[in-house]
């Protein structure tokens, strides 16, 4: 193998390693951003960006395996309201979803104050005796 070919192969190898390292760096940067950014659209005091529902070590916002629930609550099954997703390489962006707008109304704000029952059926009891 000539020196020229060796140099060519070496350059490709270095370039490849650089790309892999760059990708890994970008990923770790995203992780850092995930941890540093605080976003709490469901108002429970815990960062939405740390949730990991399938327990695979990858936060939902970065997890290709994870599907955003379509029940109108957005970030998680019943408690969230947000719509954040981490971008592939450019940090945080807002992954808009119709689901996060559904369920509007006077008592359906971001609070879940417990003023509404939330426990009872839509059924009904008997009248006064």
């Amino acid at each position: 193998m000539s020196t020229k070919k060796l140099l060519k192969a070496g350059s490709i190898l270095i370039l490849g390693l650089g790309l892999v390292a760059g990708s890994a760096f970008a990923q770790s940067t995203n992780r850092v951003k995930t941890r540093a950014m605080f976003m709490d659209q469901n108002g429970d005091g815990i960062s939405d960006l740390l949730r990991d529902h399938d327990n695979d070590g990858i936060p939902n916002c970065q997890d290709a395996d994870w599907t955003r629930p379509q029940n109108g609550t957005g970030y998680q099954s019943r408690n969230g309201q947000g719509g954040e997703r981490m971008g592939a390489g450019n940090g945080l962006h807002h992954g808009w979803s119709s689901a996060e707008f559904r369920g509007q109304g006077l008592s359906k704000g971001p609070f879940g104050t417990g003023v509404c029952d939330g426990t009872g059926p839509k059924g009904n009891g008997k009248g006064r005796r």
């Binding site: 005091g45 808009w96 509007q104 006077l106 029952d117 005796r129």
Partner: protein, 399 residues
Amino acid sequence: MKDFKILLLPLLLLSAAAYPLKADQFQLSLFQTGADNLYQTALGTSDRISSFALSWNGRAGRFTLFADGDYAYLWRSTGLSYLTLGGGADYLYAPGEKTALYVSLEGRGALYRSDYDDFNYGAVRLTAAVKTYLSPTSILKASALSEYRSFRTEIFNALSQTLNLSLDKYFQTKTTLKAEAGWGYKYFLQPQAAGTIAAEAAAPAPLGGGVNSGSGPGGWRSGRGGGVQAPFLYRSSGKGIQIASLSGLVAQGLGDRVGFRLTGIRQWFLSGENPFTYVEEFYMVENPTYDDFSWEGFGWNAQLTFLMPWEAELKAGYSAGRKEFPGIEALGLEGTGLGMMRKDTRRQFEVRVEKDFARMSLFLAYAHIRNDSNDPLFHWNGGFISGGLVWNFATGAVQ
């Protein structure tokens, strides 16, 4: 026959949604609830409810079509079992990463079995909303909702309009602040159509004016004292109710896995009062005497959230609130007016455990509620336990 007409719009929307779409997403829910006082009255009736719900949404160009159905079966009071159906289309326009506009048109209906069919309804709802990120940690939201709801018992037919404006702010200290202002107006289209009931009761009845009797369009029910009475009483004053509310939330993360939040809401009647002095029996179902437009007062809630091992989540909360119901009078168990407006004070403790998987959630919850009221029927306490699963799945190429 009219009951089925009520569901026509949701069914049409469901049918329209039947053609193949690029991506369909489904959610299947199964819930079981049981309690020693399921109906939340002094009578303390126990029962169990099993419910099954299926919801769907799929993309159709720039629109999302959605539909859902929910059937609930009551094991003892089977005559109160019910079916709800809904469906519609929404459109989301995001001109950039920071702002999105949303419009939705939907139809919704409910069919209750015999004991409850006065409250069968069909509704058309139009929603418009905007959400914008003022900064990466500040969100401003505004929404408007218009609804027309038509009941089997026409006197409850109403138009309503609500407006909401909220601002969220997140801090790197793991602190969340939220504030929201709301306004609403509800207009009863024909409460005077209470017919023969209204004929006697329409005289501007002061609180404590007594209980009317006679035959009405809603039919008869067993009433106070074991007798028979009208299911509702109408007063002539006012057909429109205007309310406003302010609410706020403060949440603080305590480390990465524990969060605490405190919320509060205050609601006022700006004008009008409930045109129905009471609606017999129907406490838990949304009705003119127990909905967003029926009360003024305040409430607060404190809640702790723990992220446990295996990403299970535990929530424990305490809520308290005081509600007054303008226009609605407190009645004795025998049905005589007590000469005062109904006032309730509620305290509630609840705990909930939830485990989320990639596409499925399981939960178990318990709540204990104590409700003190100057209307003895609504002076009660009880425990409620519920559990269930929610399963999300998709067909086609999810975008």
